[in-house]
């Protein structure tokens, strides 16, 4: 009995500790970034270019770079993931599906740096030679590899959601003469859309939050990219680069703006997923 109470206390402590870390993180960033919020500086930081030589420490290029690379990654990963999860759910259920699914689960465990490494040695030269422009370190390269990185998350969510669609719905459609493609389009995807959106939002969070791939593959130029073949820098890569070189300057302080932005994005994504999951029910 005593041991049980002790265990209960220990678990409670662990829960409180981990929950408070999230809150403390935000508090830490806001307090240390406080000077930025005085005198409208934060507005200038969010919109200005990054020109340290002219004392301009704006993070606008990094915001655009992050969004561009993440959007490209999702644009690559979404159709790919929907295709693979449809394969698992409809086209080849059984042994092939199990094989594909375990391969996908395995992919989630591969360290990001391995993807980056493969990207540097395989994709970067390919992009450079195909487009005969720049170094090959660009939005396109980073977006493509990031897409491969986030696809497994989506595939696992999508195929779980597709598998949760009631079998009776599927049989009802089949008995009416629906082809496998029609079952997928008219029954499975509409029935699974919540899981599909959840997977997409989580993958977006992962794409925005990833640091290493952009750092290795996007070229890290602190400029607003004009196209997919331009070099770009993400917020996360920016933090990693500046933190290595500076301390306690205005330049350094802008990192807190980056951190708060990333935090806000992740929080928004999490809340969106929570709301969707909370709505899970029979209504449609």
């Amino acid at each position: 009995m005593d041991g049980e109470r002790l265990a209960q206390k220990a678990f409670l402590l662990a829960a409180v500790l981990s929950a408070s870390v999230t809150v403390l993180l935000l508090a830490f960033m806001v307090i240390l970034g406080l000077p930025l919020f005085q005198g409208g500086l934060v507005f200038r930081i969010l919109t200005a270019p990054w020109l340290p030589g002219r004392q301009l420490f704006g993070i606008w290029p990094m915001i655009v770079g992050t969004l561009a690379i993440a959007a490209l990654a999702l644009a690559v990963a979404f159709p790919l993931s929907l295709g693979v999860s449809s394969l698992i759910a409809v086209v080849a259920p059984g042994r092939i599906a199990r094989l594909v699914k375990s391969a996908v689960a395995f992919m989630t465990g591969i360290p990001t740096v391995v993807y980056g490494f493969v990207g540097v040695f395989l994709l970067v030269p390919l992009v450079r030679e195909t487009f005969a422009r720049g170094s090959g370190l660009c939005v396109l390269t980073a977006g493509l590899v990031l897409g491969i990185l986030v696809a497994p998350t989506m595939i696992l969510f999508f195929s779980d959601a597709l598998a949760r669609v009631p079998r009776s719905d599927r049989i009802a459609a089949e008995a009416l003469g629906a082809t496998p493609a029609q079952v997928l389009i008219y029954v499975l995807i509409p029935g699974a859309w919540r899981g599909i959106v959840t997977g997409l939002v989580l993958a977006a969070g992962r794409a925005v939050g990833d640091t290493l791939l952009a750092l290795m593959l996007a070229g890290n130029a602190a400029q607003v990219p004009g196209g997919v073949l331009d070099s770009a820098r993400t917020l996360t890569a920016h933090i990693a680069l500046v933190i290595a070189s500076d301390f306690d300057s205005l330049e350094f302080k802008t990192l807190f703006a980056c951190g708060i932005l990333l935090y806000a994005f992740t929080a928004a994504a999490t809340l969106a997923v929570r709301r969707l999951a909370g709505k899970e029910g029979p209504a449609r």
């Binding site: 049989i171 008995a175 009416l176 082809t179 008219y186 029979p282």
Partner: protein
């Protein structure tokens, strides 16, 4: 006899993995009549029914052999032959299940679903055919004012008639029913029974039923199935 037959089952065997479910089934099912497949549970009645629209194909490890001939426009066709398009077959052979299985959408969309599958989108036609199917299924008067409500808000009996309407919209020549009243109360069952009798004029019905008195009331012909074989008996 041959002219009146709609379905001829010849030496049908069915295995799930190593388990034999149907063992040399031979039978003739007359057209424009209600044929009831009866017998103890777990003896292959539903399996026999799902062979008739080849829904059994979806079951892993299922093996079928034999012939099932169906007469469409005075031509006999073996529906187990390779190359028979399943979606074509299932548009000729509708099916209603034991538990009502409306799709998670409105009443109207449920009935119109098969039209969507066949690419018929012209609004006036669709409305017209949905109305007719609901009328044929004795449901129109109960749902005419709430066609766009979620189908799952209907009562069990209404849901089952909705499923019948959904199966009827493509005007199938054959309608399979797997214990269509087993999840309903006696009043709802009665409505379905009189509906089946009315459908007989334009449709060949094949029904699995557990209820002796129901079979006596509606069936023109009885196929007793036990241990995967048809036991020959006088028709009821």
């Amino acid at each position: 006899m041959d002219r009146a037959a709609k379905i001829r089952i010849e030496h049908l065997f069915f295995h799930y993995g190593r388990r034999q479910v149907l063992d040399d089934v031979c039978a003739e099912i007359p057209s424009n009549a209600i044929t009831a497949i009866v017998g103890p549970s777990g003896q292959g009645k539903s399996t026999l029914l799902t062979c008739l629209n080849r829904l059994c194909d979806a079951v892993a490890d299922a093996r079928v052999s034999g012939r099932i001939l169906m007469r469409f426009e005075d031509r006999w066709q073996d529906i187990l032959a390779p190359g028979v398009p399943l979606h074509w077959l299932r548009r000729q052979v509708g099916m209603v299940f034991q538990a009502p299985n409306p799709l998670p959408m409105s009443i109207f969309k449920n009935v119109a679903f098969a039209l969507k599958l066949t690419g018929q989108h012209r609004r006036p036609d669709v409305n017209d055919r949905v109305t007719r199917a609901l009328e044929r299924a004795f449901l129109w008067n109960e749902v005419r004012d709430r066609l766009h409500h979620d189908a799952r808000t209907l009562s069990g009996g209404q849901q089952q008639r909705l499923c019948i309407a959904r199966a009827l919209i493509l005007e199938p020549e054959i309608l399979l029913l797997d214990e269509p009243t087993s999840s309903l109360d006696s009043q709802a069952s009665e409505v379905i029974e009189s509906l089946l009798l009315a459908l007989r004029e334009r449709c060949t019905l094949v029904m699995v039923s557990h209820y002796q008195d129901q079979v006596r009331r509606v069936a023109d012909c009885v196929l007793p199935l036990s241990s995967g074989k048809i036991q020959l008996l006088a028709t009821g």
